[in-house]
C-alpha cells in the first residue's frame, strides 16, 4: 500500500526544494540596500501613529462559542438527512419526531441567548 504514495513523497520533496531554492537564491544573490526608514511598518505612506495593540472585544469569544454549538448541531443533521429518505416507509414519523426534539432542545438554547442579549453586536 505504501508504494502508491511514493509520487506524493517525491512531489513533497521537490516542492520543498523548489521553494527553498527560490527564496534562498533571491536572498543570497539580490542587492541589499537597508536604511532605517525602510523598516517602519507600512501605513499608507504616513508615519504610523498609535499602538498596534488594542483591547480585544470579548464578543468574539461568544460568537465563536455559539458558532461551535450550532455548527455541531448542523453536523449531526447531515447523517439524518442522508438516511431519512430511505427510512420513511419503515419508521418515518419516529425519526422525524426524534430530530424535531433534537432541534427543539437547541431552539430553546437559541431563544435563551437571544433573549439574554448575547446576539446584540453593540
Amino acid at each position: 500500500m505504501q508504494a502508491q504514495y511514493l509520487p506524493v513523497l517525491i512531489a513533497l520533496i521537490f516542492s520543498g526544494f523548489f521553494v527553498f531554492a527560490l527564496l534562498g537564491l533571491s536572498h543570497l544573490l539580490g542587492p541589499r540596500n537597508d536604511y532605517p526608514e525602510k523598516q517602519v511598518p507600512y501605513e499608507c505612506g504616513v508615519p504610523p501613529e498609535g499602538s498596534p495593540r488594542h483591547p480585544f472585544s470579548i464578543k468574539f469569544y461568544l460568537i465563536a462559542l455559539f458558532f461551535i454549538l450550532f455548527d455541531i448541531e448542523i453536523v449531526f443533521l447531515f447523517p439524518w438527512a442522508v438516511v431519512y429518505r430511505k427510512l420513511v416507509p419503515h419508521a418515518g414519523l419516529v425519526i422525524l419526531v426524534d430530530v424535531a426534539i433534537f432541534i427543539g432542545v437547541l431552539l430553546v438554547g437559541l431563544a435563551y441567548i437571544w433573549r439574554k442579549g448575547a446576539l446584540e453586536w453593540e
Binding site: L87, A91, I95, V105, V108, A111, Y112, R115, K116
Partner: protein, 439 residues
C-alpha cells in the same frame, strides 16, 4: 430494525426533569420579576412528579438497549437524589447567596445536575456512565461559580473544572482500556468476560486504579480530595450542601456498581471476592484510613465553617469507604444507611451555616460568637447536627457509625476499627471547639 427503545417508561423521571428544566429556563426569560418564585415552583413540581414516578416504577431490569438497569439499588439513590435536590431548591430560594438575576439559571442547572445524577444511578453502559459524570461535572462547576461577582467563587470554579477535566481524562482512559480488553460496553457483559479467566491480570489492576481515580474524585477520596475544602468554602451554601450529599451519594452508587458488579465475584453466602489476583479491598482499606485521618486532622485547625464542613465531608467519606472494605452485603447496607444519616446531618449543618452566613455576611467561625445568647434555639440545632456529625449517641451519626463498626468487627479488620474510633475522638474534639466558640 427497531428504532425505538422498547420501553420509554424506563426514563420517564428523567424526561420529566428535562421538561421542568426547559420550562424553568423559558419562564425565566420572559418573566423577570417573578423569576425566583416561579422557578422554585416549577422545579419543585417537576421533582415531585419525578419522585412519584420513581417510587412506583417497576424494577424491570435492563432497559433502553441495556444501557440502564432499573433495580432497587438504583431506585434508592434516585429517591435520595430527588429529595436532596428538592431541599436544595428550597434552600437556594431562601439563600441570599444566589443572586436574583440568575435565579432561573440556578434552578435550571440544579435540575440538569439532578438529571445527571439520576442517570448515573442507573446507567450500566460505559458511555452512559461517562456522559452522566460529565453532565454532573459541568453543572456542578456552573453552580459553584454562579455568583460571578465573588472572586473566590470564580477561583473555586476554575480549580474545580481544572481538576475535573484531568480526572475525566483518566476515567475515559480506564474505560477505553476496559472496552479494549473485553470488547463490550455493558457492565454485566464486561463482568462475564472478565470472569471467563483469560484476561491480563496487570491490565485489570491498572484499569481498576484508573477507575478508582476517576470515581474517587467525585467522592473526595484521598488523594483526590483537594478540591473539596476550596469548593465547599467558596461556593454558595446551597450548592455546597448539594455537592457534599447528592453528588457524593451518586458517586458512591457508581463506585459500588463498578467495584462490586464488575471487579468482584458474588459468592452465595453474601460475601464478595475480588476478581483477579489484585485484592483491592486492602487498597481501599488503606485509602479509607488515610481519608479519615486526613479529614479529621485538617478539620481541627479550620477557621471557616464551610471549609471545616468540607474537611469533615472528606473524613466521613473515609468512614463510608470502610463499608466497602468488608466486602459483604451487610457492609453495603451499613454504607447506604450511613449515607442517609449523613445527608440529614451534613445538610442540616449547611442549612444552619447558610442562614447564619446570610445574617452575618461571613462564614468565619469567629463571626458565630455569642450565638448561644442571641438565638439559643438555632444554637441548639447547630449543636445537634455537629454532635451527630462526630458520632455522639443517640443521634443518627452514631447509629450509622455503630452499624459500620459492627460490620467491621464481624469481618475482623481490627486495625481499621481502632483507627476509626480514634478518628471519632478527634472529630469530637473538633466539634467541642466549634461549639465552644459559638457560645
Amino acid at each position: 430494525m427497531n428504532f425505538l427503545p422498547t420501553n420509554f417508561s424506563a426514563v420517564v423521571p428523567e424526561l420529566i426533569l428535562v421538561f421542568a428544566l426547559v420550562a424553568v429556563l423559558l419562564v425565566g426569560l420572559w418573566q423577570e420579576e417573578m423569576k425566583r418564585f416561579l422557578g422554585l415552583g416549577i422545579a419543585l413540581l417537576g421533582l415531585a412528579i419525578a419522585f412519584i414516578v420513581v417510587w412506583f416504577q417497576p424494577t424491570a431490569g435492563e432497559e433502553f438497549f441495556s444501557m440502564i438497569t432499573l433495580d432497587r439499588f438504583g431506585r434508592f439513590f434516585k429517591i435520595m437524589v430527588l429529595i436532596i435536590s428538592a431541599s436544595t431548591a428550597i434552600f437556594g430560594f431562601k439563600s441570599q447567596e444566589i443572586p436574583d438575576n440568575r435565579s432561573s439559571e440556578f434552578f435550571a442547572i440544579l435540575l440538569a445536575l439532578t438529571l445527571g445524577l439520576l442517570l448515573l444511578s442507573v446507567s450500566t453502559n460505559l458511555t452512559l456512565i461517562f456522559l452522566s459524570i460529565e453532565m454532573v461535572t459541568i453543572s456542578s462547576v456552573i453552580l459553584v461559580g454562579i455568583n460571578r461577582e465573588k472572586r473566590e467563587a470564580n477561583e473555586a470554579a476554575l480549580k474545580f473544572i481544572a481538576y475535573s477535566v484531568v480526572v475525566s481524562g483518566i476515567l475515559i482512559f480506564g474505560f477505553s482500556l476496559l472496552y479494549g480488553m473485553t470488547h463490550s460496553l455493558n457492565i454485566w457483559k464486561i463482568h462475564t468476560a472478565l470472569m471467563s479467566g483469560a484476561s491480563n491480570q496487570l491490565g485489570i489492576s491498572a484499569i481498576l486504579l484508573l477507575l478508582l481515580v476517576g470515581f474517587g474524585f467525585k467522592i473526595a477520596m484521598v488523594p483526590l480530595h483537594m478540591w473539596a475544602p476550596d469548593v465547599f468554602q467558596a461556593a454558595p451554601t446551597p450548592v455546597s450542601a448539594f455537592l457534599s450529599t447528592a453528588t457524593l451519594a451518586a458517586g458512591f452508587a457508581i463506585l459500588i456498581r463498578i467495584l462490586f458488579g464488575v471487579f468482584a465475584i458474588n459468592q452465595p453466602d453474601g460475601t464478595f471476592v475480588p476478581l483477579g489476583s489484585f485484592d483491592w479491598s486492602i487498597l481501599l482499606a488503606g485509602i479509607a484510613a488515610l481519608t479519615m485521618t486526613l479529614g479529621n486532622l485538617a478539620a481541627m485547625r479550620q477557621e471557616d465553617a464551610k471549609r471545616l464542613l468540607g474537611y469533615s465531608t472528606v473524613a466521613h467519606v473515609g468512614f463510608l469507604l470502610m463499608g466497602l472494605v468488608v466486602m459483604n452485603k451487610a457492609g453495603l447496607a451499613a454504607l447506604l444507611m450511613y449515607l442517609v444519616a449523613f445527608y440529614f446531618m451534613n445538610y442540616g449543618a449547611f442549612l444552619i451555616i447558610g442562614a447564619l452566613a446570610d445574617k452575618t455576611k461571613s462564614t468565619q467561625i469567629s463571626s458565630f460568637r455569642g450565638l448561644g445568647l442571641k438565638s439559643p434555639f438555632i444554637c441548639c440545632i447547630l449543636v445537634t447536627f455537629l454532635f451527630s456529625l462526630s458520632g455522639i449517641p443517640p443521634f443518627g451519626g452514631f447509629l450509622g457509625k455503630f452499624e459500620l463498626f459492627r460490620v467491621m468487627l464481624h469481618k475482623g479488620a481490627h486495625w481499621l476499627l481502632v483507627l476509626a474510633v480514634v478518628n471519632c475522638v478527634i472529630s469530637f474534639f473538633t466539634t467541642r471547639g466549634f461549639c465552644r466558640r459559638c457560645f
